[in-house]
């Protein structure tokens, strides 16, 4: 028989106002197994806690029930109290008589009755509580960063600087991401490459950082502190060890049809190519879908001319398996397709371009060598029209309902840069609202209007008609109530941002959740913005939601800090409320294994003697380090062979019985 102590808290008048606490204590004293019952004003106070400790010692209590506020509030407090008195902390149960009782009922008799019932349930459960010991698991001192854009680079550098090994997995042939494509950055207008390239070099040369470019995460298993990740390094068809990066192959490659991803398709590249001059690693890659050798078996020119004989057509994908303590997801974003916005003529007319294409067009290293000309006839435009919110804040289904956040600023930047370099070019911006919250952001946008004379028009563009060599942009000035038309030479569309197409698939692989737009969800929108719901996996940058560079970098730093905090731990305490298998009852049907979201259950073969006959039998076995204690398997198990510690079938049934008493 257990010796149970019940402690009823007044919580000042919070509970005592609607519950007769003395009567609860009195009724509790008569419950089976209860040897001590007491009420006190504040059980969580030092005096209250001492009262519990003293009672444990004096009355030899084997179980403690505290009837007080929600266990979400003070369960850990009372567990520590019990532990201090030498009792296993998991022998404590909390009856929630504040949030679930005192605060919702007005009638004292009714409240008291319910408080007694809840206490009875807690006593019944506590009777069946078993001492539990939290397990420990080690921490692999290595972090994985998925994505080699500015978010991933910053995270990796911060973690590496703290002294931990970091691997960066980047899908494309070079690190750098979207920021490498950008010409200038707002609101300071420094050159994007000038501030990014040093970071890329830092990452490439850092002794603690390993780069896996042209690679993808193939599978993830394990748990916080002990993830096991398989990384597929796609075949570059060039031996990185031999290659000197001279670029001769890319220059001589006769296949010239492929569109350069880096230049947003504004120019072509060879089948063997280096994505951009500052690419890291500076090793070309063969696009096997474009390469004549891979398509027909003929050519092989690159291989013949390579002075280092680095070209290797036989190279195959390689799968690298590595263990990590923490994972940071920094996969970034993309721009939406504009095929549903026919009225803007994008894709129909070469002089209607997206903002990212505009970045390449004005970049000194871009397809025009920095010369500001329009794509159709390479003439310098006289009038440029910018359209904001192309697909952003759109609930009609053509675009995305959210604000893409960065377009107001980069459009102001584009317009300002044009006016700065070419005062003879007119720039107009169609906008719905201008949103510039950020340090020096509004000043920046106002400067575009006030100093650079950019024409801001509140309103949208309804349609664009090409007329001779002009684009007639028909819009509205909503403020003056006039319809407007501009004979533009170039139209730049600020298309909405979106999550990466494969974000949801990656989320599933990592078992982290995504929102309706496939951005990864943070554990708490305010208080845990860089953690995912899965312990040990953190989020950085625009994969979590639209972000500009300063925000991305600060989130990357925050994610790094969280990862460092995790990696610096010697041991992680695991949740002791995990499932266990009673092998004698287990039939080995593995229904439990099939529904476990953590892969914590596996088959195990045991040998046993059944009535003198030797048998081998398959049973389920739980990896306690992987189990998170949801208990779903316990229901899948018909025989009740698998049970959840802390929430056993018997315990919950005892609660049901006590409530229905």
């Amino acid at each position: 028989m257990q010796r149970i102590g019940v402690f009823v808290c007044w919580c000042g008048s919070n509970i005592a106002g609607t519950v007769d606490v003395a009567q609860v204590a009195q009724s509790a004293a008569a419950m089976p197994g209860v040897v001590y019952a007491k009420d006190y004003q504040y059980m969580c106070s030092e005096v209250g806690q001492n009262m519990i400790k003293q009672a444990i010692a004096e009355h030899g209590l084997t179980r403690v029930v505290v009837a007080s506020c929600s266990p979400r509030m003070h369960e850990s407090t009372f567990r520590k109290t019990a532990a201090a008195a030498g009792l296993n902390p998991y022998l404590v149960e909390v009856a929630n008589i504040r949030e679930h009782c005192a605060w919702i009922h007005k009638d004292k008799a009714e409240g008291t009755k319910k408080a007694i019932a809840l206490t009875r349930a807690a006593v019944a459960k506590a009777t069946l509580n078993a001492p539990l010991v939290a397990g420990e698991s080690g921490v692999e001192k290595r972090a994985l960063v998925i994505g080699g854009g500015i978010a991933g680079l910053q995270t990796a550098l911060d973690i590496a600087d703290a002294g931990y090994a970091v691997d960066i997995v980047e899908k494309s042939p070079s690190i750098g991401g979207k920021m490498a494509q950008i010409d200038k950055t707002f609101p300071t207008l420094d050159c994007s490459a000038c501030i990014l390239t040093p970071k890329m070099v830092d990452a490439a040369t850092h002794e603690n950082i390993t780069l896996y470019t042209y690679s993808e995460v193939e599978s993830v298993s394990g748990f916080v502190g002990n993830f096991e990740v398989a990384i597929r390094q796609k075949a570059r068809s060039v031996d990185a060890k031999k290659c000197s990066g001279c670029g001769l192959c890319a220059e001589k490659c006769p296949s010239r049809k492929a569109k350069s991803e880096f230049d947003e398709g504004l120019r072509t590249r060879g089948a063997i190519y280096i994505p951009f001059p500052q690419a890291i690693p500076n090793v070309p890659v063969i696009d096997r879908d474009e390469c004549t050798y891979f398509k027909t078996g003929k050519c092989g020119l690159c291989s013949k001319i390579c002075p280092a004989s680095a070209v290797s057509f036989e190279q195959a994908d390689e799968v690298i398996t590595q263990r990590y303590g923490a994972i940071v997801v920094a996969t970034g974003f993309d721009m939406i397709e504009l095929d549903k916005f026919g009225e803007y003529q994008y894709g129909q007319h070469p002089d209607v371009i997206t903002s990212l294409e505009f970045e390449r067009l004005t970049n000194a290293a871009g397809p025009t060598g920095g010369k500001f000309v329009r794509p159709s006839d390479h003439k310098k435009p006289k009038k440029v029209v910018f359209v904001q919110c192309v697909g952003s804040r759109d609930t009609s289904g053509r675009g995305k309902p959210y604000c893409s956040k960065i377009c107001c600023m980069y459009t102001a930047k584009h317009a300002m840069l044009i006016r700065d370099k070419y005062p003879d070019v007119e720039a107009s911006v169609f906008y719905i609202d201008v949103r510039t919250p950020g340090k020096n952001f509004d000043e920046f946008q106002r400067r575009a209007v006030e100093e650079y004379g950019v024409q801001y028009i509140k309103g949208m563009v309804g349609k664009i008609f090409p007329e001779q060599d002009k684009l007639m942009v028909h819009g509205v000035d909503a403020l003056s109530g006039e319809t407007v038309v501009i004979d533009a030479d170039l139209v730049v569309l600020a298309s909405a941002t979106k999550a990466k197409d494969d974000a949801e698939a990656l989320g599933r692989m990592l078992s982290i959740s995504t929102d309706t737009h496939d951005f990864f969800t943070e554990a708490h929108p305010k208080l845990r913005p860089v953690e995912s719901h899965t312990a040990g996996i953190f989020l950085a940058g625009a994969c979590q939601g639209p972000k500009d560079i300063p925000e991305t970098v600060s989130q990357a730093g925050a994610a790094a800090a969280k990862a460092i905090g995790l990696l610096s731990k010697k041991k992680l305490v695991t949740n002791p409320c995990v499932t266990t298998v009673n092998e004698a009852l287990c039939s080995g049907c593995l229904a439990c294994e099939k529904i476990c979201p953590y892969g914590a259950i596996a088959a195990k073969t045991i040998e046993l003697t059944n009535n003198g006959v030797k048998e081998t039998r398959v049973v389920a076995a739980v990896n306690e380090a992987l189990c998170q204690g949801c208990g779903g398997c316990t229901v899948a198990c018909r025989a009740g062979a698998i049970d959840l510690k802390g929430f056993t079938n018997r315990q919950i049934m005892a609660e049901v019985d006590a409530i229905c008493f």
Binding site: L590, A591, K594, V618
Partner: protein, 329 residues
């Protein structure tokens, strides 16, 4: 049928004689002419007793669990429903495919002695021979021929799989399917249409008859737990005594729930129930719901397709989201 029976006997004999298998699970004559009992044959000589006739209704698959575990190589005869059961046991890891030689027997439907009895065809019969759908009842006073379908088990009349869905070799020509699948839910539909009160009274009357003999459980190919939760004192739900009708409700609901998505609808539970409780209706209700809500799934057809309760879809029907607020999508 007698011709096939000879082939069956011959095949079993050969399997044992050549050491192809260590044991053969089949049927032999019981005490009465209508009484056929499952039997284990260990030597070739014993197989003379082996038979295949219109009363071989017993499903042999479930007996495999013990023998296979002890490492024996077993040959077993399976009818259509038995093969579904075999697959279900396979899915539940209760047997291993490698240790079993499956002899498939297309089944013309089994004869229900109770129906013969009710039709007053019972008296004086010594043996029953069968050719196609004609039964020859041989008695003291000569032979009497009757149409077999009138005397088949109800479950055989709505049989969906007279031919085994899995086998190593088939020992006879395949049989045609008698009736469309929809027929088997006729009674379920009738019950569903009743009021809550009528339904409850119907089932209470049925469950009250239960004597907790556990025959339904023991015959069921999906009920193959090492130790049933109702036999386990530690589980908190164990109860054998018929103390209160509510316990029978509990038992039968949970029994049906435990085979949800795993029941092959062989109908054996109802056949063996000494109290005549139509237990298969509970199972069929679940089968009907699963098909309606989660799409076509038939337990025992393919052990590699995940069972409905072992999987989910993001866009599953949600009867509980009356508010349509909050959450994702």
């Amino acid at each position: 049928m007698e011709k096939i029976a000879a082939a069956v006997r011959e095949r079993a004999k050969r399997a044992l004689a050549t050491g192809e298998v260590d044991r053969v699970f089949a049927w032999k004559r019981g005490e009465f002419w209508y009484d056929v009992t499952p039997a284990v044959f260990e030597t070739a000589d014993e197989t003379d007793e082996l038979l295949w006739d219109s009363f071989c209704v017993a499903n042999l698959s479930k007996y495999l669990t013990g023998a296979v575990r002890q490492g024996f190589k077993v040959g077993v005869f399976v009818k259509g429903c038995d093969a579904l059961a075999f697959n279900q046991l396979l899915q539940d890891n209760r047997i291993s495919r490698e240790n079993v030689r499956l002899f498939g027997l297309p089944c013309p439907g089994m004869v229900d002695p109770e129906k013969l009895k009710k039709a007053k065809r019972y008296r004086g019969v010594r043996a029953v021979a069968r050719a196609g759908d004609v039964l020859a009842l041989q008695g003291k006073h000569g032979e009497q021929q009757v149409e077999a379908p009138a005397y088949l088990y109800d479950k055989c009349l709505v049989c969906r799989h007279p031919n085994p869905v899995v086998y190593d070799e088939l020992l006879a020509e395949p049989q045609p399917v008698r009736t469309p699948d929809s027929d088997r839910f006729a009674l379920v539909n009738e019950l569903e249409a009743m009021s809550a009160e009528e339904k409850f009274l119907f089932w209470q009357e049925q469950f009250d008859k239960c004597i907790r003999c556990n025959a339904c459980r023991n015959i069921c190919p999906a009920c193959s737990c090492e130790k049933c939760i109702f036999d386990n004192g530690e589980s908190g739900v164990a109860a054998k005594a018929n103390a209160d009708s509510c316990e029978e409700q509990f038992f039968h609901l949970i029994r049906a729930y435990h085979v949800a998505g795993r029941c092959v609808d062989c109908g054996e539970c109802s056949r063996v129930c000494p109290a005549g409780i139509p237990l298969h209706l509970l199972n069929r209700k679940i089968i009907k719901d699963i098909q309606a809500i989660y799409g076509d799934y038939e337990a025992g057809l393919d052990p590699n397709v995940p069972a409905p309760l072992a999987t989910y879809r993001l866009d599953d029907a949600d009867p509980f989201d009356g508010h349509q607020k909050g959450g994702k999508k």
